[in-house]
């Protein structure tokens, strides 16, 4: 199959910014997925497990939520923080 991407690849290379974003998302996705394999967790709990700032975890977790990789499990006893879990197809992997 002729792909137009092969034509553009002869004219330009992927930018460093694109490669950086790709690496960062893969790294965070992997870390969050591993943390949630142990069971549902809040954002501060995930951040504690993977040693990343809570705001960064929120950003990537909510992006994963948007693309259907995680879902809401419940809310904690104080009604303050939601617990999130992996979506079923992720669990099987």
């Amino acid at each position: 199959m002729n792909r137009t991407v092969d034509i553009i690849k002869k004219q330009r290379k992927a930018t460093e910014a694109a490669k950086e974003k790709l690496k960062e998302f893969n790294r965070m996705k992997k870390a969050i997925t591993n943390a949630l394999r142990e069971g549902p967790a809040t954002i501060p709990q995930i951040a504690g497990k993977i040693n990343e700032p809570t705001d960064k975890v929120l950003y990537y977790l909510m992006t994963m939520y948007k693309f259907g990789m995680v879902e809401v499990d419940s809310i904690d006893d104080m009604d303050e923080y939601y617990l999130y879990r992996l979506k079923k197809q992720e669990n099987k992997q």
Partner: protein
């Protein structure tokens, strides 16, 4: 990419609600319109709002029928992700350059979003004001029109996964920019406004303190297609229960070069406060204001309704915001009623950012000058009797390009612009061909 005609009756610059309304009114009279929008979708800022004040009607429900009507109208050619450049006034009409930029996805796109699922790159989503990420190939937002994906080529790794999965084969990395020279008899400037950038006010900590957000970021949290699963504070995902609004952020402030009122912040903050009380029934919401300007039809009642619902209104000018270790914020403000300096703690602060002029129109015209008013909005040369007229014959202004205004006033302004443009076109065409009545 759309192949433009050589000549249009009217060039409308800006596809927000003012541009759409003007284009629709003129198109319904039979005039051919080129509607040029710099963004990927028409709809302007209104399409991103949750509800409108003071009726609390759903903003998307009001605006999307107009968006569809504009996109489908046989007399309107809509050019998205496009720019108008180098407008020259001619003896009759205007010559201009239309630059259509490549989105690397053709009109065959069905908006299925399979490409988004496989794209491996995540970039800040500008349509969610950076609260979450989007992919390097993306549908701008859920009610975008046209609902065609676009590739952010600067953040694309050129992996080709999107091209592999696209069912209608609409990915085209060979797409090139298209530049055309076009003529129009009249021009309508509907270039809208810009939002104040609160990073300029360092003492409010926006950008540094994660729990200081803009009203537009809160607006996105209040729409059904919100970035998070509920309203959450961005520092750690906590459900906020004590929210503050800082009104007049970037408005009525001579030190920031914007001494005028933005006309909408008091009411949109009051609207958001009411919506928040519905979404988070346990939350306290407090608005810090200088004066409440509830001047429109039903505005005062809307404000009173918020007060009776329990929204707190503190007449106080916020001087500085400090962050505590737990992410909560201390607002230091001058209590205007007592003259004392006071402090209050909140777990989320929303800056009610104001409206600024979009000065892009000032460089568009090459051989004539569209004058601006003292605040850099398009100058209305005869505001009382002909509000859409500008300093250039044949150039009209619609909506917030002429000054801050709310949605109903924008529609009114666009109505004025379309009727004045129609009357101008009749006059010009009659001069060319007197038999035209």
């Amino acid at each position: 990419m759309l192949e433009p005609k050589k000549h249009y009756d009217v060039l409308v610059i800006g596809g927000g609600i003012a541009g759409q309304e003007t284009a629709l009114n003129l198109a319904n009279l039979g005039y051919k319109i080129a509607l040029v929008e710099k963004d990927y979708s028409i709809g302007g800022k209104m399409i991103l709002l949750s509800k409108v004040f003071p009726t609390l009607d759903c903003a998307a429900c009001i605006t999307t029928p107009k968006v569809s009507e504009t996109a489908r109208h046989p007399n309107i050619d809509v050019f998205t992700y496009s720019q108008v450049e180098d407008i020259f006034k001619q003896e009759r009409g205007f010559r201009f350059t239309l630059r259509q930029k490549p989105r690397y996805v053709t009109e065959d796109c069905t908006g299925c979003q399979l490409c988004e699922q496989v794209c491996p790159v995540v970039v800040e989503d500008e349509y969610q004001y950076g609260l979450i990420g989007r992919k390097a190939i993306f549908i701008p937002h859920s009610i975008a029109n046209p609902r065609i994906a676009a590739i952010d080529i600067e953040h694309c790794t050129l992996c080709g996964l999107c091209e592999n999965v696209c069912p209608p084969k609409s990915i085209d990395f060979t797409q090139q920019e298209r530049v055309d020279e076009i003529y129009a008899t009249a021009v309508v400037l509907a270039t809208g406004y810009k939002l104040f950038d609160p990073t300029i006010i360092k003492r409010y900590g926006y950008g540094k303190y994660k729990n200081v957000v803009t009203a537009m970021q809160m607006e996105r949290q209040l729409v059904p297609t919100r970035p998070f699963n509920n309203i959450l504070r961005p520092s750690d995902g906590k459900v906020p229960d004590n929210i503050a609004y800082v009104l007049c952020t970037g408005s009525r402030d001579v030190t920031l070069g914007n001494p005028i009122c933005s006309q909408v912040c008091c009411m949109y903050s009051t609207k958001q406060a009411q919506l928040l009380m519905g979404a988070l029934p346990m939350a306290d919401v407090t608005l810090y204001y200088i004066n409440i300007r509830a001047f429109g039809k039903g505005f005062c009642e809307f404000y009173q309704q918020a007060r009776s619902m329990g929204v707190g209104y503190v007449k106080g000018k916020v001087g500085r915001i400090f962050e505590k270790e737990d992410g909560n914020l201390i607002l230091r403000y001058e209590d205007i009623e007592t003259g004392e300096v006071a402090e209050a703690e909140h777990d989320l602060v929303v800056l009610s950012i104001g409206i600024l002029p979009n000065k892009d129109y000032q460089n568009l015209f090459k051989n004539v000058r569209v004058e601006h008013d003292p605040y850099n909005y398009v100058r209305q040369v005869d505001e009382l009797t002909s509000p859409a007229r500008t300093s250039v014959d044949g150039v009209f202004v619609a909506g917030t390009a002429s000054g801050p205004m709310d949605i109903p006033d924008t529609i009114l302004s666009a109505g004025a612009a379309s009727s004045e443009t129609a009357s101008y076109l009749r006059k010009v065409y009659k001069e060319i061909q007197p038999s035209l009545s």
